[in-house]
Symmetry: D3
Subunit: 292 residues, 6 copies
C-alpha cells in the first residue's frame, strides 16, 4: 500500500515563471528517461520478484521515483504559474499571454499551455508517455542491467537540463534528482554483483563456437580494440555468409525423427564445441553429427 506525505522529498523553489523551462522539464515527467518511467520499471519488477531483499529494494526505489515525479511536476506547475495565474484573471490577459508565448509561431510548448499549464505526461516535444519505454522482462540479471543503464541515462538528461537553465532553485532541485540517480545506479550494480553466475543471463549456455567470434562487417580498414581483440575474440576479418557450413538459404529439410532426438539433447552438457548443444547439429556441416 502507498501513503502520501503532503511535504515533498525536496523543497521546490523557482525564481519566477518560465513556461519554456517548464516545458523542458516535462522530459523528466513524461519522457522516456523520466520519473514515471523509472517508477514503473522498478514497480513492475518489484511485484514480480520473489527474492524478498531485492523486491524490497525495487519497491523502495520505485516509491522514491514517485516522490521525484511529484517534485518535477511541482516545478512544472510553479514555472507555469504566472501563465496559469494570468489565465485566471480574464480572457484579455489570457489572450495576451498566449500571444506573447507563441510569437507568431507554435510548438509543443504552446500545446502544453492549451492543456492548462499543469504537468502533462508527455516528453518535452509533446509526445505522450508510453509503456513501450519500460523494458522489464522478468529475468533478474537482465532487469538489473536495464536498471543500471536507465539510471545512467536519467543522470545525463538531468545534467543537460541543469545546463540549460540558470534558475538557481531549479538547478538545486535538479542536482538533487541527478544525484539520486547515481545512488540508485550504485544500488542496482551492488544487487547485480550479489548474484552468482550473473553472466550470461538466463539458463541456456551459448554455443561455444560462436560465443567468442567478432565479425568485422564493415569494409574499409580494421580498427582493433579490447572489444574485438584476438585475446578476447576470434577476429574474422572478412566474414562469409552461412557460418554454419550450410548454404545460407532457407529450406524444409528436417525429419520428425530428428525432432525427438533433439528433445533428448536439449539439456546435455556441451562437451564438443563444434556441436550445437541445443540440437546436436555439427556446426561445421549443418547436419547432426550422428548422421555423418
Amino acid at each position: 500500500m502507498f501513503r502520501h506525505v503532503k511535504q515533498m522529498q525536496y523543497t521546490v523553489r523557482v525564481a519566477g515563471p518560465n513556461p519554456g523551462l517548464a516545458n523542458l522539464l516535462l522530459e523528466q515527467f513524461g519522457g522516456p528517461q523520466g520519473e514515471l518511467a523509472a517508477a514503473c520499471r522498478y514497480f513492475t519488477q518489484g511485484l514480480g520478484d520473489e527474492d524478498p531483499g531485492r523486491k524490497d529494494m525495487l519497491l523502495d526505489i520505485a516509491t522514491e521515483e514517485l516522490s521525484h515525479l511529484e517534485i518535477i511536476g511541482s516545478l512544472v506547475g510553479m514555472l507555469n504559474k504566472g501563465a496559469k495565474g494570468d489565465l485566471a484573471e480574464g480572457v484579455e490577459e489570457e489572450a495576451e499571454l498566449y500571444r506573447s508565448l507563441t510569437n507568431g509561431g507554435n510548438g509543443s510548448h504552446t500545446t502544453a499551455l492549451l492543456y492548462g499549464g499543469g504537468p502533462a505526461l508527455t516528453n518535452s516535444a509533446g509526445v505522450p508517455w508510453t509503456a513501450a519505454y519500460i523494458d522489464t522482462i522478468g529475468e533478474v540479471t537482465a532487469d538489473l542491467r536495464s536498471n543500471i543503464a536507465a539510471e545512467a541515462r536519467a543522470k545525463i538528461i538531468y545534467e543537460r537540463l541543469i545546463n540549460v537553465t540558470d534558475d538557481p532553485g531549479v538547478k538545486d532541485a535538479l542536482g538533487f534528482l541527478m544525484t539520486r540517480e547515481v545512488a540508485h545506479q550504485i544500488s542496482f550494480e551492488k544487487a547485480l554483483y550479489a548474484i552468482r553466475d550473473n553472466f550470461p543471463p538466463g539458463k541456456l549456455p551459448p554455443i561455444e563456437q560462436y560465443a567468442h567470434t567478432y565479425y568485422n562487417m564493415s569494409e574499409g580498414g580494421d580498427i582493433r580494440g579490447s572489444w574485438n581483440s584476438d585475446e578476447n575474440f576470434d577476429y574474422v576479418a572478412d566474414p562469409q555468409p552461412a557460418v554454419d557450413g550450410g548454404d545460407g538459404l532457407s529450406k524444409v529439410t528436417l525429419s520428425d525423427k530428428q525432432n525427438t532426438h533433439v528433445e533428448n539433447m536439449a539439456i546435455r552438457t556441451q562437451s564438443d564445441p563444434t556441436i550445437n548443444p541445443l540440437t546436436g547439429t555439427d556446426l561445421g556441416k549443418g547436419i547432426p553429427k550422428e548422421q555423418q
Copy 2:
C-alpha cells in the same frame, strides 16, 4: 554504404509449416528486444560517435543485427509458407486454411495471416514496432550500458523462444542468434571498461550529501543487502520529507542576484559535502551558505 549478400549469415531450416511459431518469432523481428531494435540502437549510436574504433564496432554489430533480422524474417516466412502456399491454390483452400487457424476464435496470429503471412514489423501480440524502444541518448557510457542491458534482454527472449519450440532447425538458428547476443554483450562490456572514468556517466559530479544515501521508503520490516548496507550507503530507516532542510513545499523565493552567483559556482570543485556544488546552496539550511 551497405551491401547485401544473397546467402544469409546462417542457414534457415524448418521442419514444416507452423504459423503459430512464426507468430511467436515475430517477437524478435518487430518486438522491443528484437533485431530491428538492436540494429537501430547501434546504427544511431555509431553515426553519432566520433571515436573511430567504437564507431566501427557499433556499425559492425548494427550490420550483423540486420543480418539477423533477415534470418528471423526468413524463418517467419518459411513457417508460414504452407499457409502462404495454400493461399496461392485457390479461394477454397484459403478459406479452409483460415478457418483451421482461427478455431472459432482469433488473435494477433490471425491478423498476421490477414496481412499475407510475410514478416511484419510487429511483436508477437501484433503491436507495431516503435522507435520508443530505442534508448540511444548520445552519451557513450550511458549508451554502452544500454547496449549491455539490451543484449541481456535479447538473450533471454531467444532462450524462451528456444524453449517454446521443438522444431530442430528453428532451435538451431535461434541458438546461433542467442549466442551472438552473448558475444555482443561481451564486446560492449569491453568497450565500456576501456573508457576511463566511466562512472558516474557525464560531466557533472553528484552532490556528495545525497550520493551515498539509501532511503528505506517501504514500511514493514527492513531487509539489508549490499545494495543498502551501511558499508556502501548511509541507510535512512525512516525517511522524512524535505531532505534539504526546507519545508518541502513549492515557492517563488530566489532573487536575480543569486542567479549570477550560481553561474560562477557551477564548475568549482566540491570541497564541502554539505554544499550543493551546482548552486552553492547549504544543504542543511536550504539557502546559500554565503548568505548565512
Copy 3:
C-alpha cells in the same frame, strides 16, 4: 512524498495458477480504464490544482489507485506463478509449459509469458499503456466530469472481469476494487457540485442563438426525447448548411479594422441573442451588426 507499506490494502488470494485470467486482469493494470490511468489522471490534476481541499482529495485518491495497482499486479503475478515457477525448474518444463499454453496458436497471452509472467503495463490485448488515455486539461469542472466518467467506466470493467472468473479470491478482491470506484465516483460528484456555476465549464459564455438548438442530422424518421424535446431545445427537423446566414463557403474577407473592434467586445455582456458575444457579428447576416 510517497511511502510504501509492505502489506497491501487488500489481501490477495488466488485458488491456483491461471495465466489466462492473469492476462485478462492486465486490462486493469495497463489498460485504458485501469489503475495506472486512474492514478496518473488524479495525480496530474492534484499537482496542478490550487484549491487545498480538492488538491488533497485528488492526491488521496491517486495514492489509493497506486495501492490498487499493486493489488492487481500482485494478482497477475500470483496467477502466473505456476507458470513462472515451472520456468524456474528447467528448460524441459518451460517448453512443456509454453506448448500447453499456446495450443498450436498464439495471442497476446503468450506474449505476456514471453515477457516473464510478471505484470506488464499493457492492456489484455498486449497494447502498451499510453498517456493518450489521460484526459486532464487543467480546468476543474471539466476534469471532475472526466473523473466521474472514468470511475464509471472502471466500475464496468471490474464488473465484467468479476463475471469472467470463478476464482473466489480473485472475485473477492475485484469486488473491493469495483466498490472503491463507486466511492470515488461519489467523491468526485460531491466535489463538482460544491463548485458554484459549474456549468457551462470555463469562462466564456455560449452564443445564445446556438446554445439550445438540436439539429436532426439523421434523415428517416424523428425520435424525440428529453435530449431534443422542444421544452429543452429548438428542434430543427431539417437542418440547412450555413446556420450563420452566410454562404457556407470559406473566404478571406475581414479587415484589420474589425480586428480591433472585436478585441473590445470580447468581454461585453451578451444582451442581444442574435449577436455573437465574442465578435459582435450579427448571427442572422454573417457581418458585424454595427456595419449594417
Copy 4:
C-alpha cells in the same frame, strides 16, 4: 448512410494567412478533444446502442461533429493558404516561405508545412490522432458520462483557442463550435437522467462496507469537504493496510469446493453489509462466513 452537402454548416472567414494559428487549430482537428475524436466517440456508441431514440441522438451528434471537423479543417487550409499559394509559385518563393517560418529554429509547425499545409490528423504538437482517445465501453450510463466530460473538455479547448487569436472570423467560427459543445453536453445530460437507476453504472452492486468510506491517504493535515465529510462518508483518518482483515499479503489458499459455492452466491441479495455479496466472504475475517 452519409451524404455530404458542399456548403459547410458555418461560413468560414479568415482575415489572412496565419500558419501559426492554423497549427494551433489542429488541436481540434486531430487532437484528443477535437472533432474527429468526438465524431468517433458518438458514432461507435450509436452503432452499438439498441435504444432507437438514443441511437438516433448519438448519430445526429456524430454527424454534426463531422460537419465541425470540416469547418476546422477548412479554417486550417485557409490560414495556410498564403503558404500553400506561395508554394505553387516556384521554388524560390517556397524557400523564402519556409525560411521565414522557421526562423532558424523548428517545431511541429514546420512539420505541418512539410506535409503540404492541408489539415493533418495530428494535434497542435504534431502527435498523430489515436483511437486511444476514444473511451466508448458499451455501457450506456458510463458512455453518457464520458460524453458529458468530453463536451466539457472540448468547450474549454475552444475557449482557449478563442483567447489565443484575434482574427475575428476565426473567433466567430470557434464561438459557434464552442457553443455547440455546450448544447451537446446538455443533450447528453438529459439522456443520462432519462435512465432510471443510472447510478452506480452496471448491474453488480457495490460491497456496502467499502462503498461509503473515504481513506485519507495523505499525511500532513486533514482538509474536509463534501467529498469526504462524515455525512456522506466514513472518514478514515489513518488508513491501515489489509482493510479486509487479512494479512495484506498474496497467497494461494482457496479450495475448489469454495469455487462452486461462490458461483451459487453471485446473484444473491446483499443483506449483510459485512459480507462480500460476490463471494460470501466475511469482510471482517477474510474467510467465508459459513466456514467460521
Copy 5:
C-alpha cells in the same frame, strides 16, 4: 456539411452470432486498410485540394467510405449481438459467455468483448487506430498514387476476409465493399492520368546522372528484368561508394561564397547531365564546375 440517412448503403444480414468473425472484421473498421483510414485519407485531401472537380470526387468517396464504416460497424455489432444480448440477461450468463469464448486462453478477441461488444476503433489484433496510417502529403500526384495503392490494399483485405467466413450475408456485404474499392481505384487512376506531367511528381527535376541508374546492391548472382534492364537503366553490377566522385565521408568544406552562388543556380535549366542542377556541383568531381 454531412447528413446521415438511417438506412445503410447496403443491407446487413448475418446468419447468427459469431464474435470471432466480428473481431476479424474490425480489421476494416479500425485497421490500417479499413474504412476510417480511407475516409480520413480522402477527406483530408479533399479539404486541401483547390481543384473543384477533384475536391468533389475526394469528398464523394470520403463520404461513401464513412457509409462503409457504418456497414462494417453494424456487422460487428450484429455478430456480437448474441454475446451482447446474453450480457443483458444476468451475471451468470455473462460469465458463461466469457468462459466459452476464452477457452481458458485469451486474446484481443476477449478484449473486444470486455469493451462491450460494440465496434471498437482497433484492428483485429486490438491495436488502436492511428493517424500514422494516413499518408496524405498535399501534392496531388503523390496523393492520388497513395489512394490507388490504398484501394488495392483494401481490396485484398476484403478478399481475405471473404475467404475466412462462410456466413453468406457477411460474404455478400463484404463482396459489395470489396467491389467499391475497385471502382474507387479506377476513379483515382482516371484522375491521376487527367493530370499532365504527372511524373515525376512535384516541381524539381531529378538529377539526370542518377535518374536512370540501377545499383545492384545484392551480391550473389544477377537477375535482370524490365525494372533494371539496360534498356531502361544504366545497370551498375558492382556499385562503389561515393558515386559523386568524392571520398564518401562527411566534412565541413563549403564557403559562404558558394552559398550565394547556389542560390542563383537553383532554377536554371539542366543542360549538362553531369552537373547537379540544384547546386551546380560537377558530379564527377564533387566540386562546383566553375571552380575547376
Copy 6:
C-alpha cells in the same frame, strides 16, 4: 547477409552547424516518408516474395535505402556537430548553447538536442518512428502500387527540404537522394507492368453491378470528369441507401442451408452481372436467385 562499407554512397558536405536544419532533416530519417520506412517496406516485401527477380530488386532497393539512411543520419550529425562539439567543451559552453537555441521557448528541436544531437528515429516534430507507416500486405500488385506511391511521396518531401535550406552541400546530397526516389519509382512501375492481369489486385472478381458505378454523395452541384464520366462509370446523381434492394437495416435472417449453397458457388464464373458471384444473391432483390 549485409555488409557495411565505411565510405558512404554519397559524400556529405555541410557549410557549418545548423541544428534547426538538422532537425528538419530528421523527417527523412525517422519520419513516415523517410529512409527507414522505405528500407523496412522493401525489406519485408523482399523476404516474403518468392519470385527471384522481384525479390532481388526489392532487396537491392532496401539495401540502397539503408545507405541513404546513413547519408541523412550523417548530415544530421554534421549539422549538430557544433552543438555536440560545444557540449564536449564544458558545462558553461553547453549551457550557453542550449540557451541560445531555446530562445526562451522550446520545441521538438530542443528535445533532439536533449537527446544528444545524434540522429534520432523521430520525424521533424519529434514523433517516434512507428511500423504503422509500413503498408506491406504481401500481395505483389498491391505492394508495388504502395511502393510507387511511397517513392512519389518521398520525392516531394525531399523537394520541400531542398527548398527550405540554402546550404549547398546539403542541397547537393538531398538532390541525389530525391533523384534516387524517382529512379526507384520507375523500377517499381516497370515491375508492376511486368505482371499480367495486375488489375484488379488479387483473385476474387468484383461484383459487376457495383464495379462501374460512381455515387455522387455530395449535394450542391455536379462536377464531372474522367473519374466519374458516363463513359467510364454509371453516374448516380442522387444515391439512395440500400443499393442491394434490401431495406438497409441489419438483421439475422439466413439459414444454415444457404450456407452450404454459398460454399459451392464461391468460385463459379460470373455470367449474370445481377448476381453476386460470391454468394449467388440476386442483387436486385437481396435474396438468392434460386429461391425466387
